[in-house]
Symmetry: C2
Subunit: 358 residues, 2 copies
């Protein structure tokens, strides 16, 4: 309410400036209303919780000065168009996974996860202390978009298969939903690879559009019902620390007052870490009762011959795909160097401890 | 600067209220100046970085309305008196480790870590989604202090020993700096156990006041120089996911405006997660060159007979110490139940993956 009207407000602004209240703090009273587009459906917990928690935190911390509306994929109908919509300014922010637009810009792929790559904490080390954030901003600069870690799934399960995989031959002709670099590997081994939005996954598997899919882990997968049509559930190799991404339109960010920029950046970082813990928790809870609640699920690891073929294909593809791609090579080399260093410590600390305490 | 002086400011307040700026947002202009006491010395990275980063974040997010001065232990001269100083109101906040005051209140012990207990991500799951935060606030309520996770060290190394440990007999009469429940176990096995502030650790070891100590991990330990006087460096069993604590005086928190409370709580949570990643990074970097830079360090794991004795002592002590301590029992039971659930998932995800990718 402004009982003095517009003119008096102007007088007040002048008075405020004169009285020593900084113009910044006065300007801070302006309310910014933002829109965020996600790849996920409206109830796809914990993925959808990350942007929702972000919006709640930002509202409270900013005392209502920055309001973010979260649009799920059923609203904007463009699950894999998040980068374009944030780039184009239709949305101020997005929440998705960087490897979903590898077809548009191959350099964005490694910021989600890499097969045989880093675990969640190793990858956070790389992002925040090992040069990863710089490489990510360098990559996204040409899209005029800022990119931030958006929540980690931890180590993902290798996926749901209608039939048991006994040899590399069983991968030939297999129609599988599997994104990122893992998809390139499966294609190299003869599978037909595709990506499908979460809302259509179950139907695609049930109707035989695909024979297999990987999604996330027990916390998210079992609610999707995949086990009803594809009971072979394989342990993971391909996404050891999948990090989602928050995207922010660069110009929109620059227009926010400095304190709101700080609030937004902190809330992004915090809701990402929180999602990692939340998903770990959900998977722990689901896994603990998988045997009793779903006795028909067959837990499997890929045979050594299959794993070896995947590793060989991975090495070969890393050489092929980086040819004539200096930025991609720079990113992948940086990740590999960090991983080999961090993994030694992971082995001495968590791995040895777990070995003795399983 | 206020060129109109005090009287004019009052007029302005009235004008601001009339003009429709809410009293809350005007009141928010008040600057709160807080003091935080830490257990750590002024350069003890990354422990001291957690409260320093917190203070920086809070200042920026609050647009300078909440300023936190961080006092290292050389300033307040009371490294282990943090709970008392925050309780008494000499300090608004503290940063320390909950198990340091087990002598005052045994119930505070398990919120840091437990021998053979949870890893960092399992423990964050317990804190935020498994009932841990409620149990921690219940415990600290009688001290009129709020307690929050304050940064995880990850899996700690088992410590530095002057002599090799070949049998349980070698632990008898050993003078060792080791806090928390692990100290109780070592005492039960015949060691003389003590706690010493970080600044005095090296001298104590060098002069023979103690024969052994555990500190954190390679990232922090090697800078301390322990290897020069105690070259046997053992892998960990006793602190699988040590969480430091931020303490806040309850009344002081209640006096902050709601938006500053939110900013403070978010910054606490974020700087804690960040410290986990920072310490993991530091340990990875230090570990990668430990062999080449410090060839005299002898990396060891405790013999099976010693580990078995520690596990047996742990089980016995858990029964003994919880007798007549219903809250302690409630906390430890809650942790154990969560751990057994989460560990199954840790095994299927990170552990199996690492086994194949070391």
């Amino acid at each position: 309410m402004n009982i003095l009207g517009r003119k008096s407000t102007k007088v007040l602004v002048a008075a405020a400036l004169l009285a020593g209240l900084s113009s910044a703090s006065y300007a801070a009273e302006k309310v910014y209303k933002w829109k965020l587009a996600t790849t996920w459906g409206p109830t796809l917990s914990p993925f959808i919780d990350a942007p929702k928690n972000l919006a709640k935190m930002v509202k409270k911390m900013s005392n209502g000065r920055l309001i973010i509306r979260v649009d799920a994929s059923n609203k904007h109908k463009s699950a894999f168009g998040i980068l374009d919509m944030v780039k184009g300014g239709q949305y101020d922010m997005g929440h998705s996974a960087s490897y979903y637009w590898k077809g548009k810009d191959i350099n964005t792929l490694p910021f989600t996860t890499m097969p045989f790559g880093m675990t969640a904490v190793e990858q956070y080390g790389w992002f925040y202390y090992g040069g990863g954030m710089d490489l990510m901003q360098k990559t996204y600069k040409k899209h005029k978009v800022l990119s931030f870690p958006g929540g980690n799934t931890g180590n993902q399960m290798g996926g749901w298969f209608r039939k048991e995989i006994n040899s590399v031959d069983d991968l030939k002709g297999l129609k599988m939903r599997i994104p990122g670099f893992a998809g390139e590997i499966m294609a190299a081994l003869g599978s037909t690879v595709t990506n499908i939005p979460s809302g259509e996954l179950y139907t695609s598997l049930e109707r035989g559009t695909i024979d297999a899919l990987e999604w996330v882990g027990p916390g998210m997968d079992i609610k999707m019902g995949f086990h009803k049509v594809a009971p072979y559930y394989y342990t993971g190799w391909h996404e050891p620390g999948t990090e989602l991404q928050f995207l922010v339109n660069q110009k929109k960010m620059a227009k926010l007052p400095k304190d709101l920029q700080e609030i937004l950046k902190s809330a992004i970082k915090l809701s990402a870490y929180d999602m990692y813990v939340q998903n770990y928790h959900m998977s722990g809870v689901a896994w603990a009762k998988i045997g009793s609640d779903y006795p028909n699920i067959k837990i499997k690891t890929f045979p050594k011959s299959v794993m070896d073929a995947m590793k060989t294909a991975n090495k070969k593809l890393l050489v092929e795909k980086t040819k004539g791609q200096p930025l991609l090579k720079e990113i992948l080399d940086s990740q590999a160097a960090y991983q080999s260093k961090a993994r030694e410590w992971t082995k001495m600390s968590d791995y040895l401890y777990l070995q003795d305490n399983l």
